[in-house]
């Protein structure tokens, strides 16, 4: 029997949902609006919502002061690079844990997750020293490795969950059909796990794109991604809200667009296996 929902209840629930949605979205909207204001309008009190003098000068200024595209390129290389490298390591690991578990598999999974519970700053000094001594400071390759490592537990966990959904008999069939381990993974497992792998990929690109702690601490200029680019606008010479907003908008726009176009895949991936 379908549940009966009164009109009144429907109205309240809808209103609450919209309110939460708007509250969550508002900071992004505000950043976007501020990026088109003059610095004076940006700090005006009371704040102006829509009726101010719209200008694009912040964007021009930001682009002329710092090279957006080099930061953008760094972000792309670091987020895609760390995700792909992570995937190459995570697919075989998750395969092993999903299809050939031992008594300790659950412990290993928990241990990997526990590394995410430690505050990142706890590992900053040793990592910083390692980077300095190996000449990896301010290098893309260094950031690719570090971001891969911090996201690896999540990648493995997500893939492990997807792989668990694949019937073991199909892989056994491949084995009987003469597939070697690598062929089994390439021809059978991976194609079947494509939705899961795709959403893992997307989520990790987003996570690495937005990662600020390590990127800020381990880069200066050459390898600096967009997070550093934003941070450079909250500088000692005073806060320039309009320019900071313009920089932020430019930094989050690409990932927002990627997320928008892949939201179906993301949602499907994240709820994969929830309903059979």
């Amino acid at each position: 029997m379908a549940r009966r929902i009164t009109t009144q209840r429907k109205v309240i629930v809808t209103a609450v949902a919209w309110t939460i949605g708007i509250v969550l979205f508002f900071p992004i909207l505000w950043t976007f609006l501020t990026s088109f204001k003059s610095e004076a309008d940006a700090i005006a009190s009371p704040p102006q919502f829509l009726f101010f003098h719209w200008t694009t000068e912040n964007y021009l200024e930001v682009q002329s002061r710092s090279n957006y595209f080099s930061h953008f390129l760094n972000s792309v290389i670091i987020s895609f690079g760390s995700t792909l490298l992570g995937l190459i390591i995570a697919v075989p690991s998750a395969w092993a844990m999903a299809f050939s578990p031992t008594k300790r598999t659950k412990d290993v999974l928990m241990w990997m997750l526990s590394t995410k519970m430690m505050p990142a700053v706890g590992a900053l000094i040793p990592i910083y020293l390692l980077f300095r001594n190996t000449g990896l400071l301010d290098s893309r390759i260094g950031l690719v490795v570090v971001l891969m490592l911090i996201n690896l537990p999540i990648i493995i966990w997500m893939l492990y969950t997807y792989f668990k959904e694949i019937p073991g008999e199909i892989l056994e069939a491949a084995r009987m059909d003469g597939a070697s381990l690598s062929k089994e993974i390439i021809y059978v497992l991976t194609p079947m796990a494509v939705p899961g792998i795709a959403s893992t990929l997307l989520l990790n690109i987003i996570l690495s794109w937005n990662e600020a702690f390590w990127t800020l601490n381990l880069t200066a200029s050459k390898a600096a991604p967009l997070t550093t680019f934003i941070a450079s606008y909250s500088s000692p010479e005073g806060l320039f809200y309009a320019k900071l907003s313009a920089a932020s908008t430019m930094a989050i726009a690409p990932i927002l667009i990627l997320g928008w176009f892949s939201q179906k895949q993301l949602v499907r991936g994240l709820t994969f296996g929830a309903v059979k």
């Binding site: 008999e169 069939a173 009987m176 059909d177 597939a179 021809y187």
Partner: protein, 326 residues
């Protein structure tokens, strides 16, 4: 060639001894059925032969060569799984071609073999479909197709028909038997259904708790069961067991004469099942308990009637205290 020999094969999972120790000889071209109740180790035994599980002890010899340590792909065996285990992202054609592709066969040769297999199994019209667009019976045929293209030395079937509906099961049973007659390749077939075992096998291996209870042709098992377990497992409806002193008498329902007037045992019909061709009566016999008897389709008894049962003396089985046939 496809002879398989098991020598003292055992399998232990943690603390559980699933298979204590099994010796078995399977000759080339034989249709062997492993049958037994669920949890008797029959699927495990098949998986040991396939190489999907490692043995804990003993030796597996395939075609005269020790294959105990060989990988599944090196044993030249093909397996048909209960869930069909088709590759869902591949077309029927690619599914059937997969083992040939793995063997590194040339494309034209693969195409020819796939076409041949599809013709034999009536799958020609479905070659470009994905498995999800097929019915259960068609999927099963694709799984069989994938097994036959590589011309294995033996086929392993793991309860292949249990996901099909009753009518289709009878059809596929027939198809598999025909296939065996055509190919004359060794087949090992696992089932819990004794009807499948009786109808298809050259040789039945009855398993119970990881041990072989008896090996023999269907009729041998039916007419000379070695012990109570085999006697009770083979035959449908089940054999009746009547305690007599320290011994147990076994009487099959079809070896009981039914009468409304007189006979050896008197009892009251609890349930009467009229199948048309036969009538099965479940009778509460005084001093013995419930017994099942088969009469012909026209036998008029109904629930509550008093009937008389007489066992065919020549076909009574006797078992001693240990449950072994005397």
């Amino acid at each position: 060639m496809g002879s398989i020999t098991l020598q003292k094969v055992s399998k232990v999972f943690g603390e559980a001894k699933v298979i204590p120790s099994i010796d078995l000889e399977i000759k080339d071209g034989e249709f062997v059925v492993f049958v037994g109740p669920s949890g008797c180790g029959k699927s495990t035994l098949l998986r040991l032969i396939a190489g999907l599980e490692d043995v804990s002890g003993g030796k597996i010899v395939i075609d005269g060569k020790d294959a105990t340590e060989s990988a599944p792909s090196e044993r030249r065996l093909a397996m048909v799984f209960q869930s069909y285990a088709l590759y869902p992202h591949m077309s029927v054609r690619s599914n059937i071609a997969f083992p040939l592709k793995m063997a590194g066969m040339a494309k034209p040769e693969i195409d020819k073999k796939v076409a041949d297999a599809a013709r034999v199994l009536n799958l020609t019209d479905y070659l470009d479909r994905k498995p999800r667009a097929l019915s259960g019976g068609q999927r099963q045929r694709v799984a069989i197709g994938r097994a036959i293209v590589r011309q294995p030395s033996a086929f392993l079937f793991d309860e292949p028909l249990s996901n099909l509906d009753a009518a289709l099961r009878v059809n596929m049973r027939l198809e598999i038997s025909e296939l065996h007659q055509q190919l004359k390749t060794t087949m090992i077939y696992v089932t819990h259904d004794q009807v499948e075992a009786m109808t298809m096998a050259d040789k039945i291996v009855v398993l119970n708790r990881g041990n072989i209870e008896q090996v023999g042709s269907p009729m041998e098992l039916y007419s000379k069961p070695r012990n109570l377990f085999v006697a009770g497992f083979i035959g449908s409806p089940k054999m009746n067991f009547v305690p007599q002193g320290s011994q147990t008498l076994g009487v099959r329902p079809e070896h009981i004469q039914l009468s409304m007037e007189s006979g050896e045992w008197k009892g009251k019909v609890v349930v009467a099942e009229h199948l048309g061709s036969d009538t099965f009566l479940h009778v509460n016999v005084e001093g013995i308990g419930q017994m099942t008897a088969r009469g012909d389709g026209s036998f008029p008894a109904k629930a509550g009637d008093t009937v008389y049962l007489t066992a065919d003396k020549a076909r009574i089985h006797r078992f001693n205290e240990q449950g072994l046939a005397i």
